[in-house]
Each structure stands twice: as structure tokens, then as C-alpha cells.
Amino acid sequence: MAPDPSVDTVPPGRRRFVAAAMTAIGAAIAAIVGVPLAGFFALPALRRSERRWLEVGPVADFAEGRISKALAKPLVGPVWPRETGRVALYVQNQGDGKFALYHIHCTHVGCPVRWNAPAGRFFSPCHGGVFDKDGRVLAGPPPRPLDRYEYKVEKGVLYAGRIFKVNDRLEFAAWHHA
């Protein structure tokens, strides 16, 4: 029962056939199993339009010229988990029916930023990032201004949409996720 040292006893032609057959079958199995599993794993994460409009609250709740933290109502879906979590955001009423809705995560590594009304600035508590009331970087390591939400006003109620990045001139730069 000692191992039989018979490497190379398979004729090269047969060996090539075996290699080809195994490769073909292996590739077919990998494809049949791999494609659905990859989709199963990755597609829900990469889905574009999962988050529809979030109800932030009546416009009247946000005084002109001021910035305040708001909690958007969770979305209710037909199946589990049924409710999305509540979403916090900063709402700036810029007057004339214009708003800026800021994402609460610092653009550096995601620490929650705090709005400091007396100072008129957003502070990140992790690495000293400071943003002005329009979300521009004043100091510290953040690479870009605060991210923002699309918004719309319908029947006096403010809604938040997708998240986007802005550049240093506060112009639209990219969607927060591709």
C-alpha cells in the first residue's frame, strides 16, 4: 500500500485530454454557480435607486437662514426589513424656497459632524475637520465639502433624495455612489 511512484506514466496525449476536459467542466461549473452567487452577493449592494424620497418634514419647521438637524421619516417597504432606519441630516433654509441638505458624515473618514450654531461651523470630532455653514472645508483633513442630498418641496413638505458630492465651488461633482 506504499504510494506508487508512477508520475508521468499517463501518456501525454491522454494527459492533455484530461486537462482539457477538467478545464472545460470546471469552467462550466464555476460559471453556473459563480454568476448567480456573485449577483446574489453584489447586486443588492450596487443597486442604484433603492432609496426613494425621504420625508424630512414641513418646510415651516426650518427657519430661514438657520441650520438645524432633522430626522427623516423611515421608508416603509412591502417585505422585511420593512422599515429603513431613520436618517439624520442637517437642513439649511437659504431663503427663497432654497435649501441645502447636508449629510452628517464628515467627508474625511465618516465621523459624524456637529453643527455649532454660535460658531456657525460644522466640526468633526475625529481629526479636526471644520466646515463653514455652506459645507466648505475651513480647516483640517477633509478632502471636499460636506456631501448633500437632492431635495424637493411638495405641498409644503421637504423631501430628501439621493446624496451627491460637491466641489470646492459647491457645484455638483458626483453622486455619492455611482
Binding site: M1, D4, T9, R15, V33, P44
Partner: protein
């Protein structure tokens, strides 16, 4: 070979002796007459790997708590791309794995491969078979639908009938005195952590033994009947004329591929039975186990009352021991099944018994309806018969009798009872069965009003 590949292989060979390792594993010679039947072991391994893989992915979204288990599975099926397909692979794959593992065991039995020198391979293999059955038992609860919940209630009750330790076993399985949050947690941890660890540990041992000892040969020619002193020599001679494992691997790959195609087809086209979320307070539900436990469930008919433990414990125990110890009590030298008639006949008998019981389970009549439910068919009867049919339903007769394929087959099938028994006889029998037929197990219905009794007997007598 490309010179670069040769260089890499040389580098590896110098450090790890890869050439010898490969020889020992991939280029080892197999005995002559290694057949397609010899692919069943690798087919089982392939299916187990596939179950592991699909299970890993399902675990990304599944939540093992009574509040969310059913919901999260619905979410997988309805919201996650390929969710139905991936769950289908895992669901149908479970049954297919049990079938293939069992066929592998059968192949080894028929070829006498459990004999010297492979006694331990057989023992480990039988344990692997039991572990695979436990995967079925634990996985079954996870969807937390009615079927899952009630089948588990029955399963833990059956475990609870074990002598001496039954009560402890019952509670430790459940994690308490009922099937609930802790049961689901336990079954999930067992299904995805404990059992896989045991399974792969044993597979490592099982496969290492096969690689070391070589595959069990087809019992033909000089290898059909063997004594120990000749074995090593004859096996080596046979290997000298056989093919290499690498060549056999093509067969393994083809079988794996065909199994996968079949499974993918099932997953893509068959729908998975999924019932309502589990309700422990529902008293109308009729539990049924998964098909691979039918034989146990049907066996219970044969051993009522105090004998229940024979069906739930002693027969299964005897069966497991008979399998486990087979190589130690079957001392015949024949490897071909015809040269060891006792073992073969015993196995055939056991197999037939399991087969018949499984068939009975698969073809059992539809469960009795809720008491008092009156069907369309009944409503169409003439008034006198309709009244009798209503009594039949109201008195829950279908709890023990089958009528036109519905009910429980504890007593005689009544579909054509009128052809056997007259109205008057039926009336007397229903009123007091044991007075008419000594030893009748039906309880007396003496309290039934005469009017209802007449209607019932008339209805039954008309069934021809």
C-alpha cells in the same frame, strides 16, 4: 511545458517535494475495473461543497430569530437577485445530497468495500451519513414556517422518548421546554457551525484513508473473494494494470457536472414549498416530516402506546449499530454480494422496509379537514345522505378513517364500506364497536343521538 512553468515547479519541488505529493495523490494508480459507480463518493463531496457554498451566501441575508427568520427568507426570495435560484440550489441540493450519500453507502456495501482493510473508512462513512441526516433535521427548522415548526416539535418529541436521557435530550435540543427562540438559535448554530466542523473533519479523515489505502476495488476476478494474507499482493497487481486517479477524475467531473445541471434545473423551475410563518398556537395544523424522515414517521403506526419507544429509539439505534458494526460481524471473505447471502438479504430486507415506509409516507391520504367542514360534494347529496355526511364531518370520523383519499388511515378506509357492511350492522358497530367485533380499537359512540346515528349509518351504507 513552458520553461517558466518548469522553473516554478522546480522551485516548489526543491522546497516542498511537490512532485512526490502529486504522485501520491493525483497520479496514484487505481485497481482495474474502477467504474462510474466509484464516482458516488466524489459526487457526495461535490454536493457537500456546493451546499456549503450556497449556505455561506444565504447566511449573508438570513436572520435566525423567530421574529425575522421567515421574513428574511421571504426577503431573499423576493428582493435579492437570484435569491430564488440560490435558495433552490440549497433546498433541492439537500435532498440530492442525502440521496447521493445513501447511494454511495449502498455502492460500498454491494462491492464489499467495507471489508479489510477498509473497516474504519466504513465506520467513518456511516457517521458521515448520520451527520448529513442531522443537517437535514436542523436545516429544516430554519425557514420558521408552519411545516418547519411542527416537524421540529415532532422531532424533539421523538428524541424525548429515548430511555433515561430522553427528557434531558428533549430540553437540550430545544434549549428549554418548548420550540422557540433558543431552539432556532441552537439549530442554526448547529447547522452552520458545529455540524460543518464535524463534517469536514470526518471528510478529511475519510478521504485521507481512501488516498492512503486506495479505492475499494470492484469485486471481480481474483479480487471477488479475498483473504487478508493475499489482499495486498492482489490489490497491487490490480493497480499495476489500472488507470491513474487523474483519469478517473474525468468521470468524477462529468458526474458533478450532470448533478449540477439537474440541480440548477430544479432550482430554476421547481418552486419551494413555503408555508405561513410558524404559529405554535395553531391546533388545525397537521405536521409532516421531510421525505427522508417518512420511514420513521410511518414506523410509528406499528408501535402504539408504550411501544412507541421501539419505533422512536430502539429500531433506529439497532439500525445505526447494525450499519456501524457491519465490518466487524460480517466475517465472510466474499466481496461480491452473491457470496455473502446473509448480509445481502438482511440489507435488501432493511432497504425494502425503508422503501415501503417511505412510499407509504409519500402516498399518505390528505390530512383530515377541520371538524365540521362540509365539502361542495356533500352539499350536492340528497338531504338524507347529506345529513349523514355532515354527522361524519362533525364527529371528526376523518381523524381515524380515510374517505375518498382524505383522513387518517388509523382505522379502515370507508370509501366503499357500504359494499362490505349493511346499514344495521354499521349502526350497531358505531354504537359499541367491541360488542360487535371483539378487539375493535374504535371508541364507542353511544352518546350519539339516534337520529344522527341513523343518518351516519345510512350515509356510510350508501358508499359503494
Amino acid at each position: 511545458m513552458a520553461p517558466r512553468l518548469t522553473a516554478v515547479l522546480g522551485w516548489l519541488q526543491e522546497r516542498l517535494g511537490t512532485r512526490e505529493q502529486l504522485t501520491r495523490f493525483l497520479f496514484r494508480r487505481l485497481p482495474v475495473g474502477t467504474t462510474w459507480w466509484h464516482t458516488l463518493g466524489s459526487a457526495a463531496l461535490f454536493l457537500i461543497l456546493l451546499q456549503t457554498l450556497t449556505g455561506f451566501f444565504l447566511a449573508f441575508y438570513y436572520v435566525p430569530s423567530p421574529e425575522h427568520a421567515w421574513d428574511s427568507l421571504t426577503y431573499i426570495q423576493q428582493e435579492i437577485p437570484f435569491g430564488r435560484f440560490v435558495r433552490g440550489l440549497h433546498y433541492w441540493g439537500a435532498s440530492l445530497t442525502i440521496v447521493v450519500v445513501f447511494l454511495h453507502l449502498l455502492r460500498v456495501f454491494v462491492m464489499g468495500a467495507y471489508k479489510y482493510p477498509r473497516e474504519l473508512s466504513w465506520v467513518v462513512g456511516v457517521v458521515l451519513f448520520l451527520v448529513v441526516m442531522l443537517f437535514g433535521f436542523t436545516g429544516y427548522l430554519l425557514p420558521w414556517d408552519q411545516k418547519a415548526y411542527w416537524a421540529t416539535v415532532v422531532g424533539t418529541h421523538i428524541a424525548g422518548t429515548a430511555p433515561f436521557v430522553g427528557d434531558y435530550l428533549w430540553r437540550i435540543l430545544q434549549g428549554g421546554v418548548e420550540v422557540g427562540t433558543r431552539t432556532l438559535g441552537r439549530f442554526y448554530a448547529a447547522h452552520v457551525l458545529i455540524l460543518p466542523a464535524v463534517l469536514y473533519g470526518l471528510i478529511l479523515v475519510h478521504v485521507s484513508m481512501v488516498v492512503y489505502q486506495g479505492i475499494g476495488p470492484t469485486p471481480r476476478g481474483p479480487l471477488a473473494r479475498l483473504r487478508r494474507q493475499d489482499y495486498a499482493r492482489l490489490y497491487e497487481e490490480s493497480k499495476g494494470r489500472g488507470e491513474t486517479f487523474l483519469e478517473h477524475l474525468v468521470r468524477d467531473a462529468v458526474v458533478a457536472f450532470v448533478l449540477l445541471l439537474a440541480l440548477a434545473w430544479m432550482a430554476a423551475t421547481w418552486s419551494i414549498p413555503m408555508e405561513e410563518v410558524a404559529d405554535p398556537t395553531d391546533t388545525q395544523y397537521v405536521p409532516r416530516p421531510e421525505w427522508y424522515f417518512y420511514f420513521l414517521f410511518e414506523l410509528l403506526w406499528q408501535f402504539p402506546g408504550k411501544w412507541t419507544v421501539v419505533a422512536t429509539f430502539w429500531i433506529p439505534l439497532a439500525g445505526v449499530l447494525a450499519l456501524l458494526l457491519l465490518p466487524f460481524y460480517d466475517r465472510t471473505s466474499g466481496r461480491s454480494p452473491l457470496t455473502r447471502p446473509v448480509a445481502s438479504a438482511g440489507a435488501a430486507l432493511a432497504l425494502a422496509a425503508v422503501g415501503v415506509l417511505t412510499y407509504q409516507g409519500a402516498t399518505a391520504p390528505a390530512p383530515p379537514r377541520e371538524g365540521g367542514a362540509v365539502t361542495q360534494e356533500t352539499k350536492a347529496l340528497p338531504p338524507a345522505l347529506a345529513k349523514g355526511a355532515a354527522v361524519y364531518e362533525a364527529q371528526g370520523c376523518s381523524a381515524c378513517h380515510v374517505l375518498k383519499g382524505t383522513g387518517t388511515a388509523a382505522g379502515p378506509d370507508l370509501t366503499r364500506v357500504g359494499a362490505r357492511r349493511a346499514d344495521a350492522w354499521l349502526r350497531r358497530f358505531i354504537k359499541d364497536p367491541s360488542a360487535v367485533q371483539s378487539g375493535a380499537s374504535m371508541p364507542p359512540y353511544g352518546e350519539l343521538p339516534d337520529e344522527e346515528l341513523q343518518a351516519l349509518a345510512g350515509y356510510l351504507a350508501a358508499l359503494k
